[in-house]
Symmetry: C3
Subunit: 299 residues, 3 copies
Amino acid sequence: MNEPQLRQELLSLDLLPVSEITTLLEEAETFSYGKSWRGETEQFVANLFFEPSTRTRYSFEVAEKKLGLEVLSFDAKHSSVQKGETLLDTVKTFEAIGVEAVVIRHPENEYYHDLREHVSIPIINAGDGSGHHPTQSLLDLLTIQQEFGQFAGLTVVIAGDLRHSRVARSNARALKRLGADVRIAGPAEWMAGFTDEYDHLPFDEALGQADVMMLLRIQHERHGGGMRWSKEEYHRQYGLTLERETRMKKEAIILHPGPVNRDVELASELVEAKRSRIFKQMKNGVAVRQAVLKRALTR
Amino acid sequence: MNEPQLRQELLSLDLLPVSEITTLLEEAETFSYGKSWRGETEQFVANLFFEPSTRTRYSFEVAEKKLGLEVLSFDAKHSSVQKGETLLDTVKTFEAIGVEAVVIRHPENEYYHDLREHVSIPIINAGDGSGHHPTQSLLDLLTIQQEFGQFAGLTVVIAGDLRHSRVARSNARALKRLGADVRIAGPAEWMAGFTDEYDHLPFDEALGQADVMMLLRIQHERHGGGMRWSKEEYHRQYGLTLERETRMKKEAIILHPGPVNRDVELASELVEAKRSRIFKQMKNGVAVRQAVLKRALTR
Amino acid sequence: MNEPQLRQELLSLDLLPVSEITTLLEEAETFSYGKSWRGETEQFVANLFFEPSTRTRYSFEVAEKKLGLEVLSFDAKHSSVQKGETLLDTVKTFEAIGVEAVVIRHPENEYYHDLREHVSIPIINAGDGSGHHPTQSLLDLLTIQQEFGQFAGLTVVIAGDLRHSRVARSNARALKRLGADVRIAGPAEWMAGFTDEYDHLPFDEALGQADVMMLLRIQHERHGGGMRWSKEEYHRQYGLTLERETRMKKEAIILHPGPVNRDVELASELVEAKRSRIFKQMKNGVAVRQAVLKRALTR
């Protein structure tokens, strides 16, 4: 891939230099304070979601409308995808009718790999299979930065269902590049692909060190659903219980990308706990997406 | 429930004092004459429809757009509801991303009961199961008021499928509170829950007394579909036939919430009859929803 | 049908005099150069798509938004159609809530036949079964006119799946009325209904004469899917192969309404060939629909 920054696409944080991540976070921060920005002319964007989504889909839509963009919400079920049309031809259709950026969530990892060679409008990746989810990563980073002012010296624990998750991997990598100390926690068999680079600590030990407990959703829908623990058993062994929460550092915060499996990854009451930043994350999602869209649409 | 009026939510007409119903009808009346009102800043509302709807859904959308609101149309089938997310977490997500009111239709009776304790944005009930449907009630009331100027002294006959319908019950109650004389008509077994409070008259006797014939839709989809009459038989016994229409009072009007089962509740030709206000009801639905939304969004 | 032009509906090009087609093309041409036009007041249109569509649906939506219209996107699956509501009652609902034009795609041929007698807002036909598709025809005509400046003297070959296709027939007829010389090519059994009026030439002979090769999509979804050739076999016998393309006239262009069955109707590489106007067609689709909507909404 050559010169991704020129086309202002956003596929994975791994492709962005730290300086550009920092710039995006600064821009997002101003949007989170209510900054308003609108392009000079009427511009169309299309949201192409091939997988269910609430948070990502609607926060993109809010971000787009706050920027004054015209939004086309593509619905694969009622489209020519039903007649066998490919993703490429679908995107090229939107390009032809005047759309200036596409936001895509698709179940296939790196769906954008060939696609980006054939279209000239920027692709904003809203999640590719178990691949990347750069706007989710950015909103996590923004939330941490707002809390602590910096990444250096922070201990971030990523806990739970990391299995082959490139989302988790590019999150971990971005945090590391920004100066944070990343540890992982959770069932050993869900740490595959991470233990070479990151310390795998027992849950309770990790918990005691964390400035940020980043709990990941158990993605039953991606792994065939089987889990060798009951929900109660998992919660007791690897969940953030009410009792465990009392042993966290005084200023430590809880993050979760949502949707939460209540009483599994964390106790239901903790979703709205004082140290939870789960709703702050959603709110920041809008600001981050405004920054990403502005970057995609200005040249 | 405490101080529902402060939060400007709208759950059921039963919770509103007569004075507030009257105020809403006055406001709706001015909207029906083309009054325009827009909030000072950009505001987002989300429409969360968990059941099929044409009239209610799109008249809310027209009302919202006439008020200059940004509309998010939530589609449960393509949302995180598919991953098990609850209604509460869905609404809290919309609250977090900046939505200032939610319009909800949901199959569960009083779905809003716990929900309203956990969110701080107003909920506008667009129908809960066989529960309430306050904007439908308001548009019925507005249509009657426009026709007759007042409720006192009017005889309103509610006819057809009243079975355990809280929609019908809160309609009846609101009419009674406003001074109308309410009678019921239709098959005895569909009058359950009403005969204590309202006179159940033979269809033809009720018809002769009615200033307003409010025909209710037979809700096959809510009752397992079984009906012990054929459609023709039902129409002959309890439907508004062409012949029966000629025996109505000179100034009497016909209401029906739609969608109409043509040639069942009433003869197909009567949908567009001179005394039918069925399309007027739909038109008034927009004005009523503008009034309700304005009330929800101004403090 | 009387005075279709007064109601500014658009059902089939067959119902328009040549002068009106010419006027629409002129108007569309100015829109394609970026002309902007907006109505004086806020106007609502509803898009009612009862069949999957990407190109037509979203280019109508882009056209509508460019004209500053408020758009309601009707979704039959989540509407009262699920409770048995008819197309007529659905359209009358939209009329009642203030919609000023409806764009409809429906699987039934001439679904608009009775409908138009009962509604007073213009219907814009976005495709009726295997019937007409006037905005598709207009965008084909606009693309040809932009290329050659006129229709007189041009040889247009319509090739492929013409079976009983009124789309193809009204396209052919409009081209003929505008002065073009129309030939047909493809499997003999797919030419039914055309051979009386148009010369059926062997594919390679037609190809050599064509200024415009208008390839039609094989509509597996309309014909039960059976085809007596494999895709490779069909492509070899009746497809525009890479080799055949080299034998086209120097200035000849390729049209296809999309979605393309790549490597069946034409070689995949030819979709983006120098002489392909397939993406130009899509782009013109927006301009044509702006012209049609403007015509429907101004009196």
